[in-house]
């Protein structure tokens, strides 16, 4: 098991001095991921987005590992090219050591504009870890809704108005889309569960084939919560079952965290400005109860899947 005492000895491959906002969940996630990716060298790619902007403004770089940025929708396709190059050099003996490839993209670059490239790369079985640092909207361009934005959230392109209560659709289930590609490993987690996140990274990197990690990263700017609450919110996301912590490995679902006491969704929503309107109007109650219904349904579904596979195993 990963221990903090050991981790402090690991090299910081994502160095301090970058320009992320105070309390940025994405920066924490990337740091944790690279802290876990030790031992075997990694080569990385990233999509256009917050991460790229705050980590790479020339002539500065926070990356202590090789990193390439090409475009918004190309984290997977660029990584596919790198992985192919790596296979070529391994085949021809020009590279002797093992190298792992990690692609980073936000929810916009993953759920939306980069979905096709991701699907293609998964289907072609490139061996790489794809990390979606998911803050549930297009934060870099100023908090526009994405297909990862939850129902009822106020964003600049799904504004809560006189008629509409924010986003009127539920978020896309990207995990099931990825799993439908028969990937050997896909997992979901968030930054509070640092040990879970880091062991998932290590598991993914040790897996032959494409792997996927969906990491919820609270965004103080877009979610409108105090910088100090980022990690707490990520815990609340799991405790309300809003963000199930689970993995899919070789055809089996496994819940990695089942809150002892499930909290109502309001506990997660209340501290966030993007849901404030739901508590100010009476109509907001309906939106909250629909959100609760959806979350319960998704949670139950996951439990059933876990049980079904456990039963099959038995």
């Amino acid at each position: 098991m990963l221990k903090l005492a050991d981790l402090t000895k690991n090299a910081e491959l994502f160095s301090q001095g970058h320009r992320a906002c105070a309390g940025c969940g994405e920066a924490l996630a990337v740091r944790q991921i690279l802290l876990a990716a030790q031992g075997i060298p990694v080569v990385t790619a990233m999509a256009t987005g917050c991460l790229e902007i705050f980590s790479s403004i020339y002539p500065h770089s926070a990356w202590q590992v090789p990193m390439i940025h090409t475009a918004f929708e190309t984290a997977a396709s660029t990584a596919a090219g790198i992985e192919t190059a790596y296979r070529f050099f391994r085949k021809t003996g020009k590279i002797k050591e093992e190298i792992r490839i990690i692609a980073f993209a936000g929810d916009g670059g993953t759920y939306d504009i980069g979905l096709q490239a991701l699907s293609g790369a998964l289907e072609r079985r490139h061996r790489f870890l794809y990390v979606c640092t998911n803050n549930e909207a297009y934060m870099n361009t100023g908090i526009q809704r994405s297909s990862a934005t939850p129902y009822g959230a106020d964003t600049t392109t799904s504004p809560a108005g006189k008629v509409l209560p924010g986003k009127v659709q539920h978020r896309k289930n990207i995990m099931e889309i990825v799993i439908a590609h028969d990937v050997p490993y896909a997992a979901q987690t968030t930054i509070f569960f640092w040990r879970d996140l880091m062991s998932k990274v290590q598991k993914a990197l040790a897996t032959d084939g494409p792997t996927f990690l969906n990491v919820l990263v609270p965004c103080p700017l877009g979610w409108r919560h105090p910088s100090s609450e980022t990690v707490k919110l990520s815990k609340l996301a799991a405790d309300t079952c809003y963000w199930p912590i689970y993995e899919f490995e070789n055809g089996q679902y496994k819940m990695n965290y089942k809150p002892q006491k499930r909290l109502p969704i309001e506990e997660f929503l209340k501290p966030q400005g993007r849901f404030r309107h739901l508590f100010q109007k009476t109509e907001g109650k309906e939106v909250i109860s629909e959100l609760q219904r959806y979350i319960d349904e998704q949670w139950q579904l996951l439990l059933k899947k876990e049980a079904a596979f456990a039963h099959r195993e038995g």
């Binding site: 080569v43 396709s77 660029t78 596919a80 090219g81 790198i82 192919t84 490239a117 072609r124």
Partner: protein, 384 residues
């Protein structure tokens, strides 16, 4: 070896001999066969290349960029909508100074949908920072693709080699091929100027730049394009010396005492040669100037060549929609602008969507250009 090959077959064969490290490509008419034939070479173990059958042209270019940044010699092929879909990534390949080489079987752009040959696709990518070569024959396509690898790798710029869709891509010609070892020796090993997989020396490729650095990066890229002529001329020279087939940035055909010439690119140069011959038989002083290298546009060479003619007809196989003449026309006129005495230059647009362009059409244009009078700014040839 003397072989009968279509343009697509010849380019695929050249790719086989080049034996690139990585090919990432997506099929599209009329270039599909290039990818298809190449994938049979991969399946039969005739190349060392890793082939990635991507899910779109956008991903094709993204994967090419990833592989090239990781130190590989990389090639691809596309056309038309595929090149248009790649558009975003073309600029990134050039900005990252990656010598990716791409075959294009030139085709029109939709809408309306049309699969036949014109230069809309490549010309729409004009400002993306890619070297652009337009070929008259299958032989030239084969030779140019091989040269392009060497040129791109010396200039650290990506290169596009265009053969006219169907007219060249699907028509068989007699070509003289080189041996595999001749191609290999001509190209030598690829020496990338950076390598992402060199994890001992981590680098950041493709950073964000602000107002304080972007301009310098672009200026450097522009200078790279300006100086690419040195790499082109060196490659042409070495190719000629080694293999006896000589190429130039522009080729003059019966221009010595010509008063009127046509300037154009691609397969229609062959058509124009026939027209020039016919009019020469009638004693008319006409000729043709073929532009083989469109990017970089070598102003000095063009100016020195074209300044001596009385009248020039520029033939564009693409229209720039309400520009002041076709795109090649506007470039030629701007090249000639600062001369104290300028030739008359006339703009003609021909052959869109594969519309037939005959020696009679070419002769008609030549006669009109020789006459030196033209009413409309742009004349559209053979359009109803």
């Amino acid at each position: 070896m003397i072989l009968a090959k279509t343009g697509n077959e010849a380019l695929a064969y050249a790719m086989k001999q080049i034996n690139p490290d990585v090919v990432a490509a997506y099929p599209i008419t009329p270039s599909t066969e290039i990818v298809q034939i190449f994938s049979t070479y991969v399946s039969d173990g005739e190349v060392d290349s890793e082939f990635v059958a991507v899910e779109s042209e956008h991903s094709a270019m993204a994967a090419c960029i990833g592989a090239a940044a990781a130190g590989c010699r990389v090639m691809t092929a596309t056309a038309s909508q595929g090149l248009a879909l790649m558009h975003e990534m073309l600029f990134i390949a050039a900005g990252l100074r990656l010598p990716i080489v791409m075959s294009v079987a030139s085709r029109s752009l939709s809408s309306p949908l049309n699969i036949h040959g014109d230069h809309s696709d490549s010309l729409a990518s004009r400002d993306s920072g890619w070297l652009q070569f337009f070929c008259e024959t299958v032989q030239e396509g084969y030779d140019t693709l091989i040269q392009a690898v060497k040129i791109a790798e010396k200039a650290y710029l990506p290169a596009l080699v265009a053969i006219d869709g169907f007219i060249l891509s699907h028509c068989q010609e007699r070509i003289e091929t080189l041996t595999d070892s001749e191609v290999r020796d001509f190209l030598g090993p690829f020496k990338p100027n950076y390598n992402l997989l060199d994890w001992h020396n981590p680098i950041l490729v493709g950073p964000a730049t602000l107002q304080d650095y972007y301009f310098e990066f672009k200026r450097g890229e522009i200078e790279g394009m300006n100086r690419a002529i040195e790499a082109i001329e060196a490659a042409q020279e070495e190719f000629g010396k080694r293999f006896g087939r000589w190429y130039q940035v522009i080729e003059e055909y019966r221009c010595d005492d010509a008063e009127a010439v046509l300037v154009l690119m691609g397969s229609a140069c062959g058509t124009c040669r026939v027209a020039v011959d016919r009019l020469r038989e009638k004693g008319m002083k006409v000729g043709m100037v073929k532009l083989r290298v469109f990017r970089p546009l070598v102003h000095s060479i063009l100016k020195n060549c074209l300044r001596r003619f009385k009248s020039i007809g520029v033939l564009d196989r693409v229209d720039a929609v309400n520009s002041y003449g076709g795109p090649l026309f506007t470039e030629i006129t701007s090249v000639l602008y600062d001369l104290p005495e300028r030739p008359n230059v006339f703009s003609y647009v021909y052959g869109l969507g594969g519309r037939e362009f005959t020696p009679e059409d070419a002769a008609g244009v030549l006669e009109a250009v020789l006459g030196g009078k033209k009413e409309e700014l742009v004349t559209y040839i053979g359009v109803r």
